[in-house]
Symmetry: C2
Subunit: 518 residues, 2 copies
């Protein structure tokens, strides 16, 4: 009997009807039943008369399945064995305690994302280079688009398209006109090119995404799939609702069984021609089609989407303010009671615009501010170069300085007792995180003596203290480590009791870690 | 006939009664009448049987005066001639158009303040050193306390006291007890030492302040006098209202005729034992006693005082948030319709606490953010050193890196056509200031084409653009200068029309200046 790991991918390929438009004219359904679950999923047409069904078992043991639907006159049944997961297979990422992210097996997911919006649409060599870069980097999530991207620095034609060319079908002409008024593009640029038939997927493109998502999965990297976005000149951002739903169902059937998939309904949803009602309808289509309850969110440009909505599993945020953003992490955790993932906090680079020209120091600072407060953050890199190959959109290699520092922070996060931190109120000039399960004494900063927790991470951001003072009890003992978050050093200052003055180098980006010892 | 410059100091010394307590038992009044004004002022007792009357003429021409009061049984009359001001005598600083500061003669005051809270209470040599430092620095305002300071790094006894010692009188014992509960100090530290008679000024101390304020005036530096503050162990911050008014009247009589005086009712008013009602009563005492309408404000620690109050001429602000503060300058200008003076935005240094350990780069950035938006900012320096001589409180020499950059910004501000800037809405990643009189086209950032003003200062803060683009009209001509605000260079890129791409070094702290040419 075929064996598949729990949270692994079971796939069946079946021949079926290929006349007419198999994407719309026929359907393929499957029912899987194991000892711990019973699920109905849809299959999808993959071209050349081949239909596929994919399934991710969430339990071990024997599964039976039955395939049905109009795609074929033959009914198929079978069995497979789901085995214990091995290696880096920890299952899909889920929400823990309304604040945090962990894999299904209980392993913490410290989400260190990066962004390469259109990397799968680049030339093959560049994609391979991107994968080699990811192999060495600390990122465990990558955010990218299923549709190609047309935008500043993204003006070459992509290597492939999600739809086949021919007669323009499935584009909402009213939306397209509205889109024209909201964009830099000329009417000619957009209207002349949109000859895609949005009822017929180009399966080669989706097969390429299959391969890339699986490669990412093998590397332990979550694929944060951006389903829709506004950077478009082909009509894909202005399809009819019918075609959008066709697409979303196709994507859910095709990628839903990949354990490392997250759904991002949109990048910068508020730059599209769709209304909130449209988005709600489309999100419902995805959650209904997704048999596994993958993480799902929607990403803003200016104002946040209402993350209170039931279907949203986590806040996928872009900073709303140029100056202050990740510093609100604990506020948003309280407000939305969902994990806070800062998917765009400006990128390290030197592009013209402020979203793409902060320093590695500043990007690293933003990561620390987010993580010590119990949130997560995403990286991106936007260094101008001769070939216009920019990591943030095309992938390739990293030119910046932040990534090793993010790896250093990730290592420190992995050492957190009880997995995750929450922020506790202390002095105005420090961010203090403690294990999230810690019961924290309610004291007034400044007026009351500090009650220290067993583990504390103190971050001083752009402040440059040359020392900090601690008032431990005479019978308390704390190991104190001085962390240089930029130079990536951890210096053990020994075990201290009572009043303790810790000398610091008077540089920016320092942290102190306290660990109570017996 | 004696000659005194308009806005200069006319002073009379008269012998009078010295029995009892001349500070409370006798009074001295004067009436001055010139061609343009008629004023009543009070004189003050200066010890050894000498009473003084000081007067600042606000017009040229002949003035007659008459001295009266219980201090003497003799009536004195006389005349003097007020002449045209010379040198750096531009008159006192006043509010211009609810937003800005200028001298009475119409010269712009670009307020570049610094802070040396207790410099006049230090040893003579150190005070002299402070003056030598000020002589070379760009500061045109200095903020300091009339009462001595007891605080972290300020624990040595001062060189003098404002009151004579003896029996403790004039301290409000209830306030003192409340103060004890709000402070780091032990009961012993405070209660043992407060043997000052708050009905009897130590005139030597006030004479020293006379001399220092006059020296500052000669150097063109405004003296932002902090009248009351909470950093105290002598009882001066907890006097009875009676003694507080006695003191404020004394100070108004003594220093009101100095053209370079600003009144700061308090530093960190919200750390004192006084209520808002108390402050209102005390502020009324000052404005009533001040015959000249000097600038007057009150400075916060946590929450701003209500700057809408009629008596307040400008907002003397301390940042309320660790991360974002001067970036709100235009909002506060709109909210309060008064000049915004950021008297505390953290100091360059390396002390333990966040108020005293930012970098010179960051302090300079905060100045730029404030000034381009039409506000003013204050400097301070807090580098830890062996002698605990810290500029912010003691004066001495500067160790930091910001001051030359502030001088550079001041020079750029002085080149503003029409004196001052106001912020105009543009892209999210730039701060753009234009001459405040400019009528600005109402356009939507991003969606509408930019309508450029004749003079624009663009600041990019921590962003690191390697270029910026401008869309001038084909018949518009602009000279574009690239300003490196940290390296203090201005590079003229020539005159441009139409689409213009300006190359930048991809470093932080850059600015661009546009000047329309014919």
């Amino acid at each position: 009997m075929e064996k598949v790991e729990k949270w692994g991918l079971f796939e069946l390929a079946l021949n079926g009807k290929s006349d007419g438009n198999p994407f719309t004219d026929y359907e393929i359904r499957a029912e899987f039943e194991g000892e711990g679950e019973k699920k109905q999923v849809k299959g999808f047409y993959d071209g050349d008369g081949v239909y596929r069904v994919r399934f991710m078992p969430s339990h071990t043991g024997t599964y039976r399945y039955r395939i049905s639907g109009s795609f074929s006159d033959v009914q198929t049944e079978g069995m497979f064995e789901a085995t214990e997961p091995t290696g880096n297979n920890h299952g899909p990422v889920r929400v823990l305690d309304k604040r945090y992210l962990e894999y299904a097996d209980g392993t913490a997911h410290y989400s260190f994302g990066t962004t390469c919006y259109a990397w799968v649409y680049q030339k093959e060599e560049l994609q391979e280079q991107t994968l080699r870069t990811l192999e060495k980097a600390c990122f465990n999530k990558i955010r990218f688009c299923l549709f190609p991207k047309f935008y500043q620095y993204n003006e070459s034609e992509p290597q492939m398209y999600p739809y086949v060319r021919g007669e323009r079908r499935g584009v909402d002409e009213e939306r397209l006109k509205r889109h024209l008024r909201m964009t830099f593009h000329t009417e000619k640029e957009i209207l002349d090119i949109t000859d895609f038939d949005c009822f017929r997927f180009d399966v080669k493109t989706f097969q390429k995404f299959d391969a890339r998502i699986i490669q990412l999965c093998e590397m332990g990297i979550e694929a944060d799939l951006i389903l829709l976005h506004p950077y478009d000149k082909w009509g894909f951002s202005d399809m009819t609702t019918e075609c959008e739903k066709l697409y979303l169902n196709y994507v859910a059937a095709r990628y839903g069984a990949f354990r490392n998939v997250w759904w991002s309904m949109a990048n910068e949803y508020d730059l599209t021609t769709k209304t909130v009602e449209d988005w709600e309808e489309l999100a419902a289509a995805v959650t209904e089609a997704d048999a596994y309850g993958h993480l799902i969110s929607i990403h803003n440009c200016m104002g946040f989407y209402d993350y209170h909505r039931d279907w949203i599993t986590h806040c996928s945020m872009q900073r709303q303010d140029f100056y202050k953003h990740v510093e609100y992490t604990a506020d948003y955790l309280d407000e939305y009671e969902k994990p806070v993932v800062w998917d765009e906090i400006a990128y390290e680079g030197n592009l013209s615009m402020g979203w793409g020209n902060i320093s590695g120091e500043e990007l690293t600072r933003r990561f620390w501010e987010a993580f010590v407060r119990g949130g997560y953050a995403g990286h991106g890199e936007t260094y101008r170069n001769e070939n216009d190959v920019i990591w943030w959109s095309h992938g390739g290699v990293l030119h910046g300085t932040a990534e090793p520092r993010l790896a250093f922070l990730k290592k420190i996060m992995e050492e957190t007792p009880g997995k995750f931190l929450k922020q506790v109120p202390r002095m105005f000039d420090e961010v203090v995180g403690v294990p999230y399960q810690t019961e924290v004494a309610r004291t007034r900063p400044f007026f009351d003596p500090v009650v220290y927790c067993d583990y504390e991470l103190h971050y001083y951001s752009f402040g440059r203290p040359s020392y900090r003072e601690f008032e431990f009890g005479e019978d308390e003992k704390f190991r104190i480590e001085v962390i240089d978050t930029w130079n990536m050093t951890i210096t053990d200052t020994g075990v201290h009791s009572g009043y303790t003055k810790v000398e610091l180098p008077g540089r920016e980006y320092m942290a102190i870690r306290l660990v109570r010892v017996e």
